[in-house]
Amino acid sequence: MEHTTQLVPLNWYLLLSTFLFCLGVMGVLIRRNAIIILMCIELMLNSVNMLLVAFSSYSGNSDGQVFVFFIMVVAAAEVAVGLALLVSIYRNLGSTDIDLLNKLKW
């Protein structure tokens, strides 16, 4: 009945995800605050999740959805560790600016 209106090309999801992924990359590059960078990485992960779910629905195969759970697990663990590192740096440095972290070089 509404067959034509229901069509969403899978390419659109591919495009959206790629765009969000690259946006996340840009965020990682241009921001100096470690928290925001971490959030940008979360954005990248989410773009991936979305694409996985799209592929999963498209092919009617739920592996993709299950994988998203694992990505969430990892993201949660990553965030916990990342924020703990951040707090410990903040205690020593009084800032979360990663450009101040340049003692190790050359």
Binding site: V48, L51, L104
Partner: protein, 463 residues
């Protein structure tokens, strides 16, 4: 499979011992446990049945084959060395000892997953277990800003690389409809070259692996992180972790991508060439020993990439042999370096000044380790290089192999810098404390380096 379960169990035991306040026994118990695990691992060599976990067939997740058993064996031995050294290294941090050791045990678990996965889900989890635990360990000197910096840098770049990896995995899934290596391989064999998603996905995954093994241009994290991390963690990253990532990379390329297509091989050749050049050249100018070994590790990654390139012949045993020799030499070097660092308070090459006079025996161990890293016969490092290079030539990569020979000759210079510092300079009169366990680890590593150099038989051509 049992190997993995027992290792995870060992991690639990460590945590339990913390609760029971048995810290003193921690290292002996872990070493004992590793010995048992090594035995269990050996037993699974002959056992090629399906992987059964909780009554379910998990063969599509984990595949125990000769490749994984052999690499697990090497990793367990490496871990045993690291734990033996940790006893003295963490002497002043007793209250955190069990935390550190448990995390290292878990890293070993992750590394074992990496050697035996047969599904991208497991690969991803393995990579993350290893990486996340390493972020923690790298930043574990909480009051040391350098350690913080190392942890943070590693964390940010590592997570970024994980995101790239995931994007790649997703595209592979989108193309092939599965996470199983076998299905991906059959997809690759049928449509691989024509599917843009598959190509992009595989390239992104390769990039993520190149990051993990510190290949140029994804190597930038490694010198900084190696330098800033506590030295034992640096040893861990340079040895166990690096080799396990290479094993995973090899497994992915050989059983996931069904060999190596010409495009990927061109890219890997370029990356390997850049890696050898950058690693060896930059190392020439280093004064910090850990940084030096970081660049040396980058250079060695370049050589090990040759094994990945040489998939056509069965280069797995070349990779195994090289990995083992590299681990032995690097741990041998660090077994000398760690106590020297803590006695002199320096981590630069001149910390070794005059060691040849003060402690000739110890200096001899470091010399042999350096010579093995440099690839001077008859030490094992030479045979490792020789093995990998000859595999590469059999696969037709002549030019890159010539470059590898030339860069490895350049590389000898910086290893000799350390040797010459020990023998031709008079250092300060600081007393070098050299605890027993370090010497034992050093002696075993060096002895194995020599033995493997002279009688490679067993390990060479194992796979």
């Amino acid at each position: 499979m049992n190997t993995l379960i027992y290792t995870a169990g060992l991690g639990m035991v460590c945590l339990a011992m913390e609760i029971l306040d048995l810290r003193k026994l921690l290292v002996p118990v872990i070493l004992l446990g590793l010995a048992v695990i090594f035995g269990v691992n050996l037993m699974s060599w002959a056992d090629s049945g399906p992987v059964i976990f909780a009554g379910l067939d998990m063969s599509s997740m984990l595949l125990v084959d000769h490749f994984s058993v052999a690499f697990n064996g090497v990793l367990i031995v490496a871990a045993a060395f690291l734990f033996a050294m940790s006893h003295d290294f963490y002497k002043d941090e007793q209250h955190h000892l069990s935390d550190y050791l448990t995390i290292i045990v878990f890293i070993l678990c992750g590394a074992m997953v990496l050697t035996s996965y047969s599904n991208l889900v497991m690969m991803f989890l393995g990579i993350e277990i290893v990486s996340i635990s390493l972020y923690i360990l790298a930043g574990s000197r909480r009051h040391d800003l350098r350690s913080n910096e190392a942890g943070m840098k590693y964390f940010l770049m590592g997570s970024f690389a994980s995101a790239v990896l995931l994007f790649g995995i997703t595209l592979l899934y989108g193309a092939s409809g599965s996470f199983k290596l076998t299905e991906i391989a059959s997809y690759a064999a049928t449509y691989g070259m024509d599917s843009p998603m598959f190509l992009v996905g595989s390239l992104l995954v390769v990039c993520a692996f190149l990051f993990k093994v510190a290949a140029v241009p994804f190597h930038f994290w490694s010198p900084d992180v190696y330098e800033g991390s506590p030295s034992l963690v640096t040893t861990l990253m340079a040895t166990l972790v690096k080799v396990s990532f290479f094993a995973a990379f090899y497994r992915l390329m050989s059983s996931g991508f069904a060999g190596i297509d010409p495009h990927t091989s061109t890219i890997l050749v370029i990356v390997a060439a850049a890696t050898m050049i950058v690693g060896n050249l930059v190392a020439l100018k280093q004064i910090n020993f850990k940084r030096l070994l970081a660049y040396s590790g980058i250079a060695h990654a370049g050589y090990m990439l040759l094994a990945i390139l040489s998939l056509k012949t069965n280069s797995a045993s070349a990779l195994l042999f090289y990995g083992a020799t590299y681990i032995l030499a690097t741990i041998g070097a660090f077994a000398v370096a760690l106590p020297v660092f803590s006695s002199t308070g320096k981590e630069t090459i001149d910390a070794f000044d005059g060691l040849g006079r003060k402690k000739p025996f110890i200096a001899g161990m470091l010399t042999l380790s350096m010579l093995s890293l440099a690839g001077i016969p008859p030490l094992a490092g030479f045979l490792g290089k020789y093995y990998i290079f000859s595999e590469a030539i059999h696969n037709g990569y002549v030019a890159i192999t010539l470059l590898a020979v030339i860069t490895s000759i350049i590389g000898v210079y910086y290893y000799f810098k350390v040797i010459l510092a020990m023998y031709t300079k008079a250092g300060e009169d600081t007393e070098i404390q050299f605890p027993m366990l370090y010497s034992i680890v050093g002696i075993i590593c060096v002895a194995l380096s020599i033995l493997l150099g002279l009688w490679p038989g067993g390990l060479m051509g194992l796979l």
